[in-house]
């Protein structure tokens, strides 16, 4: 007899929990045993007793929290089945950021896949998404509205390069999340033939060095020295989104404010942040890819963790797939993922 999906996975205040394996996935509070999908700080928190994750995710957590971020760690080789309690788990690339993985849990002939954050679009800095057929698919819905269709990233990066050519006396300050997006933008710039140094805000430095040590070529990426800011006319500078508009950016010569994010698709969003050159580059699936992925997994049941749950649940329901929103809290609240407040709500300086 096949197990019910809730025997394999349930929702607890700490996050998704597997009773048969006695572990949590991406818990938002410290737990005994955590399986982590990827290194963004809202999914990968410190203080768990033991952590199972891909090698890259474990290293990213060590870069962020120090080597003692958990009492014990175990590496999950991609594609290999591991026995945890009474279930089998398998990590498969999710295409979100370096080291990101989906986690498939199997027991009694039922397979549940927790996708974490994922994208289907090409990314030179991480392994591509691999489809895992399943019975229950747990998906995010950060961009779960049909207005979100991410364009070709190369065209977006060319926008940046065209602007840098048209305004050579101004510096271009690009807001991008420190893990994943920043390095992806750098890699895309290199793919388009940009060979000048790409300047980094101090907050970008360690993770960028980590990407380089993993063999991802990002070229010359000097850290911006405060005294030299005023001399960076014509330069491309990458910084955390919260810095694009603040005191830090003031010393640059007449900066063009850019922001690389899927949110930039919506004009009001870009204007609210004072962005002058929005770059629609996202590490999440757009609407079409969310729908396509759900269909391709063959799942008869879909749980939507966070983001624009309602529209995606509506779509599933009208396409004969059982679906429910989990309204999970705690994801994307640090501005590390592409989470943003509801339209019209306070954006604040730290968003």
């Amino acid at each position: 007899m096949a197990l019910r999906s809730t025997d394999i996975l349930t929702q607890t205040p700490q996050g998704l929990y597997c009773p048969l394996g006695d572990f949590h996935i991406d818990p938002v509070r410290p737990v005994k045993r955590a399986l982590i999908t990827h290194g963004h700080s809202d999914h990968a928190r410190s203080g768990h007793r033991s952590v199972l994750a891909t090698r890259e995710t474990l290293l990213i957590m060590a870069v962020r929290y120090g080597a003692d971020f958990a009492s014990s760690t175990q590496e999950a080789p991609l594609g290999e089945s591991l026995r945890v309690g009474d279930v089998t788990v398998r990590f498969t690339p999710a295409g979100h950021v370096l080291g990101s993985a989906q986690i498939a849990i199997e027991a009694g002939g039922t397979r549940v896949v927790v996708s974490g954050d994922y994208k289907r679009a090409e990314d030179p800095t991480c392994l591509p998404y691999e489809l895992v057929p399943c019975d229950v698919f747990i998906t995010e819905a950060t961009f779960g509205l049909p207005v979100f269709r991410h364009p070709d990233t190369r065209a977006e990066v060319r926008k940046l390069l065209d602007s840098a050519a048209l305004f050579p006396e101004r510096s271009h300050i690009v807001g991008a999340y420190a893990l994943g997006k920043a390095q992806r933008v750098m890699a895309l710039l290199r793919e388009e033939g940009y060979d000048r140094p790409i300047y980094l805000h101090g907050a970008m430095e360690r993770l960028t060095e980590f990407y380089k040590s993993e063999g991802i070529p990002l070229g010359e990426t000097p850290k911006v020295v405060a005294s030299e800011r005023s001399k960076l006319a014509g330069a491309i500078v990458i910084c955390p989104p919260s810095s694009i508009q603040d005191l830090w950016s003031r010393r640059f010569p007449d900066p063009v404010t850019c922001f690389a994010s899927g949110w930039m698709r919506v004009r009001a969003r870009a204007r609210q942040k004072g962005v002058e050159l929005p770059l629609v580059i996202s590490d999440h699936s757009d609407w079409d890819d969310l729908c396509r992925t759900i269909r391709e997994t063959g799942a008869g049941e879909v749980w939507v963790t966070h983001g624009q749950e309602d529209a995606l649940v509506h779509w599933c329901t009208t396409h004969g797939i059982r679906a429910r929103p989990l309204h999970m809290l705690g994801y994307g609240d640090e501005g590390e993922t592409e989470e943003a407040p509801a339209p019209g709500a306070e954006a604040g300086d730290a968003a």
Binding site: L145, P146, V147, F148, R149, P151, K159, S163, L166, F167, Q245, D246, L247, S249, R250, D254, T257, R265, V266, R267, A268, A270, R271, Q272, G274, V275, E276, L277, P278, W287, D288, C291, R292, Q308, D310, A311, H314, W315, T318, H319, P343, E346, A347, G348, D349
Partner: protein, 578 residues
């Protein structure tokens, strides 16, 4: 179309004038004829086609999308054109189609749709019947990407609004060559989209196009503000003075076309043809040449305040009722051409005589001379400026905002030449208000809290409270901006996106001395008043917030000017009551 879309997209986010100019020039330089000409026409409002209604767009989207998904999306995005552009299910995007629809996905086995050029779109719009329009628009929407669709909707609904004035677009064209924008303005009215002759000329490949306009605009001469320290350097006897009217600067030009018919036009200060808004004034232009003056509303021989004039401006429909209620007059002060004769090189005093003679010949009360203000010394002029009524301005004194001081031998020169014309404005109104909110600026100021909302005291349900009365973002120096920015950051009590609320109350808060030119009633503001040209004149670091002004101070200023806005209605109302 894609290139035009990319331009509009970029312009929509760019606050800096010079950057906009560069984007426009770059577009004109790299876009072939006739596309660039049609783009110019779109931005200068020179395109002639019947615009599409937003309902057409909505209808097309509703046919193609799940209504629930469309509703959620529209709610999220907040703008119909943008929602339509983003949600449009282009071929291959069947995931927003209504699920119950069993029809095969559109265009799956068809060749990729043809992306229209801007020229194709505009030429098709001019010839497409209303009933064929939806199908055409749908074809284009299928072929374009998100930005392209957004630009298409903006274009066909005539809602471009990307912060580019006609003047700026023409300036960008002029910059393709070494040509002054005014030169483009001079010939503009003889030109037609797609302006291939214009581009050929500015790029040095062709002759200067004939103006073809028997009543062309000539660039206006502008003045400099007169500062206190200037008087020591200026000899009063070399100058003449007129009142400075609180109206709208206009140039009236009249001639006759090759067919002998009279051509009469009215231009704004920047050369925009505004004739259509003032048919009553156009009718009075019984002369040939070009004269320069101020648009004023005159009722029963008395010049009305700017508040009254505003009721006549920016109206889409100029009805007989509007004309009767707000009769437009042109109070003239200079003459540029008389017939074919160019008078601009003559001294101002000479031109004035020619103007006086011309106005007498026209003999229409709607075209009248702006009187001279006699004076022998600067002190005398200062006295006149302080009290215009005392030197013959009579009941018009309310519409006077100072004096124009012009060198008697001044030629009429385009632009703002130094040393000839000065404006000596009446002192502005001043009010002490308390800063309530700071908002981030744009462009160069995007890292500064540079726009300040301020309030004055009034009696509230719980005692005295501050009510916002305006917002100002200039008047201070760069050093003061740094201090104000720091003040906002250090006294923030609340954050709303780009806005911060600062501390204020009877015993705390920063007092700003705000200068402004006038007040109007406003239903959009909580306080019921709106300021004209507010700016920060001084930062009163020393003044306690409790000593800032009260709303009654503003009410008094308001009462002076407002009774006259709708006198005909008032009279009608009284009659009804009576």
């Amino acid at each position: 179309m894609n290139r035009f879309a990319a331009l509009l997209d970029r312009l929509g986010y760019e606050p800096r004038r010079n950057a906009k100019l560069r984007l426009l020039t770059d577009y004109f330089r790299h876009t072939p004829d006739p596309d660039r000409g049609y783009a110019l026409a779109a931005m200068t409002g020179a395109l002639m086609f019947k615009e599409a209604k937003p309902g057409l767009i909505r209808g097309l989207v509703e046919e193609r999308t799940d209504p629930e998904l469309f509703r959620m999306s529209y709610h999220y995005v907040g703008d119909l054109a943008e929602t339509a552009a983003l949600i449009w299910p282009a071929p291959g995007h069947e995931s927003v189609a209504p699920a119950s629809d069993d029809a095969p996905a559109i265009g799956h086995n068809n060749p990729p749709p043809h992306v229209p050029t801007l020229t194709e779109v505009i030429e098709t719009l001019a010839t497409t019947s209303k009933s064929d329009l939806p199908a055409r628009v749908a074809e284009w929407m299928d072929a374009l990407d998100e930005t392209g669709r957004w630009a298409l909707i903006k274009l066909i609904t005539r809602e471009l609004r990307v912060g580019v004035s006609a003047r700026l677009a023409k300036t960008a064209v002029a910059q393709l060559g070494e040509i002054e924008p005014d030169e483009v303005e001079l010939i503009w009215h003889g030109l037609e989209a797609p302006y291939e002759d214009l581009f050929a000329w500015v790029e040095g490949r062709g002759e200067r196009p004939e103006s073809g306009n028997p009543a062309p605009f000539r660039p206006s001469m502008l003045s400099h503000p007169l500062e206190d320290e200037d008087f020591a350097k200026l000899e009063a006897s070399e100058f003449l003075a007129e009142w400075k009217w609180d109206g709208i600067r206009l140039q009236a030009a009249a001639g006759h076309g090759s067919d002998g018919r009279p051509v009469k036009r009215i231009y704004s200060r920047t050369g925009e043809d505004v004739s259509r808004a003032f048919p009553d004034l156009v009718e009075a232009l019984d002369f040939e040449g070009a004269i320069d003056g101020e648009l004023l509303i005159v009722r029963e021989g008395r010049v009305q305040s700017f508040n009254v004039l505003q009721q006549r401006l920016n109206r889409k429909a100029v009805t007989p009722k509007l004309i009767a209620e707000f009769p437009a007059h042109l109070r003239v002060y200079d003459i540029l051409f008389e017939g074919e004769e160019d008078l601009r090189a003559l001294p101002f005093a000479e031109r004035r005589k020619r103007l006086e003679a011309l106005v007498a010949r026209i003999g229409d009360p709607r075209i009248e001379l702006s009187p001279m203000v006699p004076f022998a010394t600067w002190e005398e002029l200062a006295a006149a400026r302080a009290d215009p009524a005392s030197v013959g301005a009579g009941p018009d004194a309310d519409a006077i905002e100072g004096c124009m001081v012009k060198r008697a031998n001044s030629p009429y020169l385009p632009g703002r030449p130094k040393g000839y014309w000065y404006k000596w404005k009446r002192d502005p109104y001043l009010v002490d208000a308390v800063m309530m909110y700071g908002q981030r600026g744009h462009g160069k100021r995007s890292s500064f809290y540079s726009d300040y909302t301020f309030g004055v005291w009034r009696d509230g349900p719980n005692g005295e409270e501050l009510v916002p009365v305006g917002k100002a973002y200039h008047g201070f120096t760069d050093e003061e901006l740094v201090k104000l920015d720091r003040y906002v950051r250090n006294h923030t009590v609340n954050r709303f996106g780009p806005v911060r609320e600062v501390e204020y109350g009877r015993d705390r808060g920063l007092v700003l001395e705000v200068a402004f030119e006038g007040l109007q009633r406003s239903t959009r503001h909580k306080s019921g008043v709106a300021m004209r040209f507010p700016r920060i004149s001084r930062i009163r670091w020393d003044k306690p917030a409790a000593e800032a002004d009260r709303i009654e101070t503003l009410e008094k200023i308001l009462e002076r000017g407002e009774k006259e806005v709708y006198p005909l209605q008032d009279k009608a109302a009284k009659r009804q009551k009576g």
